[in-house]
Subunit: 204 residues, 2 copies
DNA sequence: CGCAAAGTTTGCAGAGCATGCAAGAATTGC
DNA sequence: GCAATTCTTGCATGCTCTGCAAACTTTGCG
């Protein structure tokens, strides 16, 4: 998780970014996103307001820390698996996403909070949707590459959209259902259930 | 389209709203969304900047005029069709949406422009996604009601999401493919194609 | 018609968001 | 240890959006 060859400068930058993110999330949980300001977040995280905008393009972005694209290592591995039928590819994509979520357990509490906040705060919801959409696009690119199609062809987009719809539906339910994010509390069963229902809807 | 029992006041309100919307779209097409201001839109549409915000909550919203929910008449009709299997309901939803799009031909040029602008302007894209999400939620509610399920159950959400994914994919391709919105140029074949591919993906 | 109630427009003030710029501080590589 | 690079910060500025109150318009009713 912590890159090896990084110097002091890189480490500090990563830490500052995380610090701002955590401060934003803490304050948003406490007061509600619409009641906090960039000044408050900056003060809470010990940087100047101007510096806040060196790390995040806007207030919403500070809440959304995760990757905005499919990590290229995973993408490469996925593409290398070779051509397959659309249905097989879809099944592979869902497996890929589930595995990725299983690995990223530390981020779970954050994901829970962000999804919960999004339910009640339209600007966060919009930002979250845009973020997911970007991820979906990079996923669709990987799918297209694996299927030997062009990125603008519909099938890869549809496959990526289906898979992420299941993920999103599962995460939304999880964040609604489970009020406090306890230890060892995983969204994965929820996502699996959504994927299962999607399969039912397809091939019953 | 033009309600009968509306007085002068209502008519003016509707006209002003449309006027602002058209001004916003015209300017956004011409200069790009990030280059225009609320002051410019207000001037172009002949109202004060303050009045702009009486009609729209923010700059993005002025571009998105359409309904934010499934019209209640359609919802009622849909629900009345009675219980059916998930797959049948999904097929019905896609039919419903296609019919609705066929009827709304006047809005096509606008839809084309908005989708095209969204491709290049992240804030519009986010606003559009949020709008679609809201529509999807109301659609899911209708589906839930028809299937005798609760709104927070997953199946209705998944059905609504699938149908709107097809619509969205079709519209995106349409707006990318067809640069100028000519007369008699319809997105419907594109949406139908996306729906067809989705079926292929399910039951092949 | 005429008048009171309700709704609409506008200006003004003010808080907050976001960006460019330049000066100063810290880190890096040599 | 020094020059180059990168990061932080303050300042100035423009834009977004809201609350409030005054002026104006429409409406409904006597």
């Amino acid at each position: 998780m912590t890159p090896q060859g990084e110097g002091l400068r890189d480490r500090r930058r990563r830490e500052t970014r995380l610090e701002i993110h955590r401060a934003a999330l803490r304050l948003a949980r406490k007061h509600g996103f619409d009641k906090i300001t960039v000044d408050m977040i900056s003060a809470e995280s010990g940087v100047s307001p101007r510096t806040f905008f060196n790390y995040f393009p806007n207030k919403e972005a500070a809440l959304l820390l995760g990757p905005t694209e499919l990590p290229s290592a995973l993408a490469a591995e996925f593409v290398a698996a070779g051509t397959a039928s659309p249905r097989e590819v879809l099944a592979d994509v869902t497996r890929l996403l589930l595995r990725e979520m299983a690995d990223n357990s530390p981020e779970r509490a954050t994901m829970h909070d962000v999804f919960a906040l999004a339910q009640t705060h339209p600007p966060i919801h919009a930002a979250l949707l845009a973020r997911i959409e970007g991820f979906q696009k990079s996923l669709a690119d990987a799918v297209a590459q694996r299927m030997g199609q062009r990125p603008e062809d519909e099938m890869p987009s549809l496959i990526a959209a289906l898979a992420l719809t299941a993920v999103r539906t599962g995460l939304e339910r999880w964040s609604r259902e489970v009020p406090q994010s306890a230890e060892n509390d995983s969204p994965i069963p929820y996502v699996e259930r959504a994927m299962e229902l999607l399969r039912t809807l397809s091939a019953d």
